[in-house]
Symmetry: C2
């Protein structure tokens, strides 16, 4: 796509490193009061004003986390930010700043980087976070994006992975499995396209799951909703690698077991239909699929009444004593199936 119009495009070397950073970041306004020094000095300066500083980083690599054959660069920039904001939300903190570093080969023109930064800008604007630093470098290899996200929160509000107690309820936001099935559609249509570039991709009816894959959102809205319900989770994590893997993380750090009820796992109708189309068990797509970026948390059983009819939350299980282990309670049979982490692994799932 980019190659076709390369005669109009600007090579990165024309701007140089400093010129490029300046060019790409000039339209990023500072909106957070806590941002005291932004891009342009040796480092940025943040005023945390008695709040704790929450910080997380994630790296996305071409061919491992994304395939430029079907992921638009703008979506990639957006998603790279969102997956990091999701980690801040998973601490029950409010994201405030990001730093973004990008390594690109010289085959990318300036216009490609502009697309990535347009996606980053969109995410900054949507989530009211400031881009306060970063680095842009060439690479001999593919595209690598590294984002560090910073959030601020009062200490008593921060929720870690290690606070779940036996009998706590296991709750998830939104619905699961969509991002994984969206990826299946993208990969199928991309294969069809590679076999015959004249074929039109069949994307109709898959809007929801495609958006879940290409333009996920971080559940930064959940913090306020929980506060309104007067609920502070006892532990929390975001669903980036698949439900099974995340439950095992909470189990490991909280020293509890979990019973997870297959029939309770929330799924969108299109997720279920598409699973059937691919001959997949829909629950397996939620357990092992990943990239949904919903929040998974535990609450005291005494908070059940506050949450039970809320459209954003689904109780999907409960914590047990650690010795009881971690199980999926199968739909219908109530058979106990040991939970194993077959979630997404950057070293195993190669495209």
């Amino acid at each position: 796509m980019l190659e076709d119009k390369s005669q109009e495009l600007t090579p990165i070397s024309k701007l140089g490193e400093f010129g490029l950073i300046k060019h790409l970041t000039e339209n990023f306004p500072v909106v957070q009061n806590s941002t005291k020094v932004s891009i342009g000095d040796d480092a940025a300066v943040i005023d945390s004003e008695n709040q704790k500083v929450v910080v997380s980083t994630d790296m996305l690599a071409e061919g491992v986390h994304f395939n430029l054959g079907y992921v638009p660069l703008k979506h990639l920039g957006y998603k790279a930010v969102v997956v990091n904001l999701s980690d801040i939300a998973a601490m029950n903190a409010t994201p405030t700043q990001i730093l973004v570093s990008v390594a690109v080969s010289n085959r990318f023109p300036v216009e490609a980087l502009e697309e990535i930064y347009a996606g980053i800008a969109l995410a900054c604007n949507r989530y009211k976070v400031d881009l306060i630093g970063g680095d842009t470098t060439s690479s001999n290899a593919g595209l690598v994006i590294s984002v560090t996200a910073i959030g601020l929160e009062n200490e008593e509000k921060i929720v870690k992975r290690n606070g779940a107690k036996p009998n706590d309820l296991l709750v998830v936001t939104g619905d699961l499995g969509g991002a994984y099935l969206g990826l299946q559609i993208l990969e199928r249509e991309h294969s069809v396209y590679l076999a015959n570039p004249n074929m039109q991709p069949e994307m109709e009816g898959y809007d929801y799951i495609l958006e879940r894959q290409l333009k996920p959102e971080a559940r930064t809205d959940i913090k306020k909703k929980l506060e309104e319900l007067d609920i502070l989770p006892t532990s929390m994590i975001d669903v980036s690698d698949g439900l099974a893997s995340e439950v095992l993380h909470l189990s490991d750090q909280s020293k509890v077991g979990f019973h997870l009820y297959e029939e309770k796992i929330p799924m969108d109708e299109s997720t279920i239909h598409t699973s059937e189309e691919f001959n997949l068990n829909p629950a397996m797509a939620t357990l092992n699929g990943g990239e949904d970026y919903e929040l998974l948390f535990t609450i005291s059983p005494s908070d059940f009444d506050k949450i039970k009819n809320h459209p954003d939350f689904t109780v999907i299980g409960h914590a047990t004593a650690e010795e009881q282990g971690n199980f999926l309670v199968a739909r219908g049979s109530n058979q106990l199936i040991p939970l194993t982490a077959q979630g997404w692994d950057a070293f195993l799932n190669k495209e």
Copy 2:
């Protein structure tokens, strides 16, 4: 080198992503009181205790910032941390935490990553900073390391690039040009080796400049030395891209010009000798070479007496009115040569 003994080495896929991170980070102790939550949750938590949070990030890419043909992996891990700590020192802040993300191709065994993390651990120990987060992923391409460094400092102590006034003195720590000439030696001997692998590299007599290139240090010691002299710089930057480029940054942000005296630029004797060996003007190596990671700063002229005989500091010029521009005052002739940024640029200097 690594390929020769691959039968004994561990493929990364054997450990998986979580196992790998756990394995690589298990020997990193937490030494900073400000580190409240470290590796193992969705995000780390820092208690800044009324200090401002200073944060910077840098990305190093194989074949652009380093050549694994002659850079040992342990040195690479060490240097990746140091260059980021240098940015924190350049704000006159104290580095306290780092986050490190590494993308590696599957051609690297676990043992190679262990070497990189051994270097990171060495730097953490030397500079008393905590590794509090990061990411490890495979890449289709070479090795990319992204480090985010965090520091804490009281607001009134933080020094930015924009505070220099006309007549302020321009001061640099240590000596310059060594890292650049160390790189010339490494590249020369690497070419010789490639041409004839039986040739022994001639590294004797180059210890100092090789160490400047392979194992640079961040001048985190300067903050305390300046405090003891009761000096607060009016502006500061670290010398990562060459003296000329850094002077122009201070000029640009402080809205002043600079006169920089060639004969004052501090150089080690081995830097001068090696320059002559390569038929290079030694001053040019300091102006355009980069990677020295010394600190360049301005002080009020009234502070001159405090600093004039200090072994760590050299006054190399002074600020002028902005309209006067930026000039190198040539040795002997006192001719004014316009300063231009020919410093190291990741998009221009390809190996």
